[in-house]
Amino acid sequence: MEKTKIESKKISVFYGDKKALSGISLDIPEKRVTSLIGPSGCGKSTFLRCLNRMNDTIDICRIEGKILVDGEDIYDRKLDPVLLRARIGMVFQKPNPFPKSIFDNVAYGPKIHGLTNSKDELSELVESSLKKAGLFNEVKDRLNEPGTSLSGGQQQRLCIARAIAVSPEVILMDEPCSALDPIATAVIEELIDEISKNFTIVIVTHSMQQAARVSNQTAFFHMGNLIEVGKTDEVFSMPKEKKTQDYITGKIG
């Protein structure tokens, strides 16, 4: 039996008066890939952003329910969301490298958290993070060039390296390939497969093929509700719910 990394218990989210999620209970297994699928606007991003309290940065957003990471309530008053985000990294839909050099992009997190004691250690950490993100060989000669000079796919891998560099336990990805071409997408999917040995990954995707290719567990959201969750092959081959069936066969979307 897999160990559960994140347990969400009856999570409801409101933007102002508008309810975006209602009563989501979902367990996310450790060192596995969980994908969230569903038509756009159904609350996938909202749920993902609850997991590392990114929704705190939105004023009108209000959350009910509990989320436990390793059994610890992350919405506990005593818990510092800043520290939580170092444990639960995030990669966004649009690659968003900082306007800094490639090196500084990756070194950003480690510097803030003081993870290294010397310059050499820092460059080692940057190098190993870039290697884990499968980007090192492409950029090793131009670490001082701006991160924005890379191609879209490379930028997204740079953002993954940036997240990896602070050694998080979980990496959240919000449609990481939606701005990329098929080749860059394939590279990222391979990368996800690779890093899932060491990290728990939750990925939002609008592509069912992608969910089927990369994930072990799939959760289907519809209009703020979690309709169905299960092993990826089971959800796709024999969905229990009619709505899931409809979505997979393209009847709703």
Binding site: L83, L84, F92, K94, N96, P99, I112, H113, P146, V166
Partner: protein, 461 residues
């Protein structure tokens, strides 16, 4: 025809030309049963004809207003009886000026009748020549636009032609701005060169005493002024430094508050209030500095047991700093708000706090804009005159002590130019020398800042 009737007729004709041309294009299209229609929309043909109406009119009017004085002078001199011209004491220019200044209806008793006659002639000439030109240009414009009507055909792309004309108009406008700037620089340079004939350039640039009191009459003693500009430039530097020391921290911090922390409602309230600071007339700041801040500083100094003048660089610079806060805060707030939210999200997602995010992501990304804002503020501080006159005095002390009275370049320019002075005395000409030096100084500052911004951009964008 007076100017207003010209304007009304012109508007009327413009509408007519536009309407006629576009209607003609419409009809042209309607007549084509099969085959290709006109390549552009009818309105473009209207606009094209309108351009042919307005451009000749505009060009001729501009030329006319430029050459009118010379032209009228020539006619006037021809009209004056030559024997009167030769008997008139003084040069003919003065006579022409006298005639122009004479009102033929209300002249001084005893004015020479020839002058009154000429004045009448001149007034008439002014009105009549204007009418001729107005009528002439209107006719010419009409002829041109009529010819443009003949171009309405399938082969003629009016849309592209209008586009081209638009571009040329834009270029023309920017050229005007550039030419004006060049004109200003040259007039400054020529006057400054005349000054440097009287005072050696190195005495001016390197001298440390500024006392421009030249004698009004030749026989007065102490007719030699001293024109060492260094105290004035250090004074400017000192006041600008004080002003920036006040404005940069306060401006930047309030910009950070506004763009990163303030709720939208609060921001919408505070920002306009801050911007009001920039709208207060500088005289008001001046007397605030002179009447409130200066004496207040003096009191404080007395309390600590030393005495300072109530006119001080600190009072002027400090108040000036307050005045330019909005230049920095408002612009910096704009550029910081323009930094995409995704940058901040990226930073939060690796576990950075808000202040770390601002320091390391938002500010660096906004730096070129912030530098530009600071530059604008600096040039504003250097150019500010009123506050300094009122609160820092006009004595040119060579000092870096903020409690002393100092003066700045712009203040000196003003004091040199007001008052009864011959226009070619060293004292007045010194104003131009100061002006051109200030110009090059700020140009230099701008170039450096541009370099910094460029370098930064290359690195990060």
């Amino acid at each position: 025809m007076g100017f207003w009737s010209f304007l009304i007729i012109f508007c009327f004709i413009s509408f007519y030309v536009y309407w006629y041309s576009s209607t003609k294009a419409l009809k042209f299209n309607a007549n084509i049963k099969n085959g290709s229609k006109l390549p552009s929309l009818p309105s473009y043909y209207g606009t094209y004809s309108f351009f042919w109406l307005i451009l000749p009119i505009f060009l001729i009017l501009v030329t006319w207003f430029f050459f009118k004085p010379f032209f009228l002078d020539i006619l006037l001199i021809k009209k004056i009886p030559s024997d009167f011209l030769t008997t008139f004491e003084g040069n003919p220019d003065m006579l022409v000026d006298t005639i122009k200044a004479t009102n033929p209806e209300k002249f001084f008793p005893g004015t020479n009748p020839v002058i009154i006659e000429s004045a009448k002639y001149f007034q008439n000439l002014k009105i009549i020549s204007d009418s001729y030109v107005y009528i002439g240009t209107l006719l010419l414009g009409l002829i041109f636009s009529t010819f443009s009507l003949r171009k309405i055909s399938v082969a003629f792309r009016a849309r592209q032609a209008v586009e081209k004309t638009n571009v040329n108009l834009l270029i023309l406008c920017s050229t005007i701005a550039i030419i004006t700037t060049i004109g200003i620089i040259f007039s400054l340079i020529f006057e400054a060169l005349r000054f440097f004939e009287k005072v050696p350039i190195f005495d001016f640039l390197l001298g440390i005493t500024w006392s421009p009191q030249t004698a009004i009459r030749e026989d007065q003693v102490a007719s030699e002024g001293l024109f060492g500009a260094i105290p004035i430039f250090t004074g400017t530097l000192l006041i600008t430094l004080i002003a920036m020391a006040v404005a940069i921290p306060i401006g930047l911090l309030s910009a950070i508050y506004l763009s990163e922390y303030a709720k939208p409602k609060i921001r919408a309230t505070i920002k306009p209030i801050l911007e009001i600071l920039a709208g207060v007339p500088t005289v008001v700041y001046g007397f605030f500095a002179a009447i409130t801040v200066g004496p207040f500083l003096k009191e404080i100094a007395l309390f600590f047991g030393f005495s300072i003048a109530s006119e001080s660089a600190l009072a002027a610079g400090g108040v000036m700093g307050i005045m330019i806060i909005p230049f920095i805060s408002s612009l910096s707030d704009d550029v910081m708000s323009a930094v995409p939210q995704s940058m901040r999200d990226g930073s939060y997602a690796v576990g950075a706090t808000k202040s770390e995010t601002i320091k390391q992501v938002v500010l660096p990304a906004a730096l070129p804009g912030v530098v530009a804002a600071i530059l604008l503020a600096v040039s504003r501080a250097i150019g500010e005159t009123m506050i300094v006159v009122m609160a820092a005095g006009i004595s040119a002390n060579l000092t870096m002590n903020p409690f002393e009275s100092v003066t700045t370049v712009t203040v000196q320019i003003v004091t040199l130019l007001v008052g009864d002075q011959e226009f070619d005395s060293a004292k007045t000409l010194a104003a131009f020398a100061l002006g051109i030096t200030l110009f090059f100084l700020t140009l230099f500052l701008n170039l450096i800042a541009l370099k910094i911004v460029r370098k930064y951009r290359e690195k990060y964008e």
